[in-house]
């Protein structure tokens, strides 16, 4: 697999005024994103997510280190032909209509008028904004701005789509539509790199994630590997067991619960599974299910960030 994004020892320092001390926002960040992935870039507020994205988009220059897109400097024109970018809380030219804005963006890529016309219609339909195409963007809601922002990010049919907090400002239905679009982009072989605060949504779509805090990378890897590595408990569901067996099972479990004669025992480790199944069967009970309980991305994230505090 080829890396579409490479970040090597990236530092960024800011100085608000010349008499103020310099603040280091990124502290030697290293990261690689492979082609065809949906990559979640996660971190608390002020972690350096937007600064990293702005460096990748050629909006700011790194103080040290390198950020590369398709192996090239993002300040070059060539890699920018192949990317789409949706900024955080986007604000666009409010005197333009959505349609005019997309035409403007398309012209910045030198897309021919014929291709542009049909692509704009497709994109407006994709983000569900066909009805507001001729409305000036000053009349758009936050969610509508987010949608037109996604449409402009896709105007050049990019190979890499970078989205900064794309799910913020959307209602649940909008979030679902955005997630479907992201999954659809992946199915078409695109790479999606996005930052998000909404961790359950990120968990649903990401192949891989990176967690950053205070400008440093805490964890990076495939989501399944990161979360499978830490199984919190094994949930065993059964029924038709006598009280005495239930008592024995409780002593082997972290916690238990019963509803309408059905028992749920949370076993401590995988090693306890076979013993518990034998005990239930010996008492004439029925096993309904055995489910390993993984840590959610939210729990994993909280643990990692708290550990770095």
């Amino acid at each position: 697999m080829t890396a579409v994004i490479q970040i090597k020892g990236l530092y960024k320092t800011y100085q608000k005024h010349f008499w103020m001390p310099r603040q280091t926002v990124l502290k030697g960040l290293n990261l690689e994103v492979e082609a065809g992935q949906i990559f979640g870039f996660l971190g608390p507020n002020g972690a350096g997510k937007t600064t990293t994205i702005k460096t990748l988009m050629g909006i700011i220059r790194p103080s040290a280190g390198r950020a590369l897109l398709f192996g090239k400097d993002p300040w070059d024109i060539e890699p920018k032909q192949r990317i789409g970018f949706l900024p955080e809380s986007p604000y666009f030219y409010d005197y333009l209509t959505g349609l005019e804005f997309l035409v403007f963006c398309g012209r910045l890529f030198n897309i021919s008028s014929v291709v542009l016309k049909s692509r704009i219609q497709e994109l407006l339909a994709l983000v569900n904004l066909s009805y507001a195409a001729d409305l000036q963007m000053r009349k758009y809601s936050k969610g509508m701005l987010q949608r037109i922002g996604l449409a402009q990010a896709l105007i050049n049919d990019p190979q890499l789509v970078v989205l900064d907090e794309p799910l913020t400002g959307l209602d649940p239905l909008g979030r679902k539509e955005f997630k479907d679009i992201i999954l659809n982009l992946k199915a078409r072989g695109k790479t999606v790199f996005f930052s998000s605060h909404i961790l359950p949504d990120a968990e649903m779509v990401c192949d891989a994630v990176a967690i950053i805090n205070k400008g440093k990378l805490l964890q990076v890897g495939n989501l399944a590997d990161l979360l499978n590595a830490r199984i919190k408990a094994i949930e065993l569901n059964c029924r038709n067991i006598p009280e005495e067996t239930a008592g024995k099972m409780k002593s082997r479990s972290l916690s238990s619960n019963t509803i309408n004669g059905q028992w749920q025992f949370n076993l401590k480790a995988e090693a306890d599974i076979s013993g518990a199944i034998d005990l239930v069967k010996a008492a004439g009970g029925d096993i309904i299910s055995v489910i390993p309980q993984k840590e959610s991305l939210e729990e994993y994230f909280s643990r990692e960030v708290a550990g770095d505090a």
């Binding site: 800011y14 988009m57 909006i59 700011i60 220059r61 970018f85 005197y95 333009l96 890529f109």
Partner: protein
């Protein structure tokens, strides 16, 4: 070129859809005022008064537009973060600046043209005839405003609109007085003040060269060498300022 055109057209559209064209209403009122209120008091000098008022009005309003809109051009893009959309697309920063400048030129050109039409109608109404040579000072006003426009763009890339507007206006005023600065330099004895004023004289745009209002008002012959000199000088000044602005802008971080 298509990208520059797109940015220029976008800038022009912004100007047209904001309240820029209200400047024309002010100009119409100025012309009506000079025709109805001043002319009866001028004892046969009505034509000169109208020409003076009309041309000065075109210059004042278009310079004000260039300063007020020009100094917010780039600043607003950065402040409202619309620049993120353009900076992440395959557009050179120089192309962005040139597009903004040309869009503003288009807007100022349109406003000056419409004011010139109103001015022409005023002169026709009062004199019953119109000589096309009267349009030469209008063209030179456009040249002068083009220089102000590039100065406004320069400050818009560096500072806030208020500071930018103050600096640009100072450049305009000092540029208008640049001949007096030169006279002062010639009278001063050698010393640091003379050197500083000399530097200022060369840095400031020489607006005096671009002024043909007097020839139009007093019907004196047009000095064509002055016109050609002013045109080449303004072209070189605009080009140099555009290059300096893009050199600074090239290194700029958009926070």
């Amino acid at each position: 070129m298509r990208k520059i055109r797109a940015i220029a057209y976008n800038t022009f559209t912004e100007g047209i859809r904001s309240k820029t064209l209200y400047a024309l209403l002010i100009y119409i009122m100025l012309i009506l005022f000079s025709v109805t209120a001043l002319v009866p008091l001028t004892l046969g000098e009505h034509s000169r008064i109208l020409r003076d008022f009309g041309l000065s009005g075109i210059e004042f309003l278009s310079v004000m537009l260039a300063i007020v809109i020009g100094t917010t051009l780039v600043y607003k893009e950065v402040e409202k973060r619309t620049i993120y959309v353009i900076a992440s697309k395959p557009v050179e920063r120089f192309e962005f600046l040139l597009g903004k400048y040309l869009g503003m030129e288009l807007l100022l050109g349109l406003v000056i043209f419409l004011m010139a039409v109103i001015f022409t109608l005023g002169v026709l109404f009062l004199d019953g005839k119109f000589t096309f040579i009267l349009l030469l000072p209008v063209t030179m006003i456009f040249v002068k405003v083009s220089v102000i426009n590039i100065i406004a763009l320069f400050f818009s890339s560096l500072s806030s609109p208020v500071l930018g507007a103050v600096f640009t206006f100072c450049f305009y005023l000092a540029g208008t007085l640049s001949r007096d600065i030169l006279r002062l330099v010639q009278r001063l004895s050698e010393g640091p003040l003379k050197i500083i004023l000399k530097i200022f004289y060369y840095l400031l745009p020489n607006m005096g060269n671009m002024d043909l209002k007097n020839q139009a008002v007093y019907d004196t012959a047009v000095l064509w060498p002055q016109v050609w000199w002013a045109l080449s000088y303004s072209g070189a000044y605009i080009l140099a300022m555009l290059m300096i602005t893009s050199l600074i802008f090239e290194k700029k971080d958009f926070k």
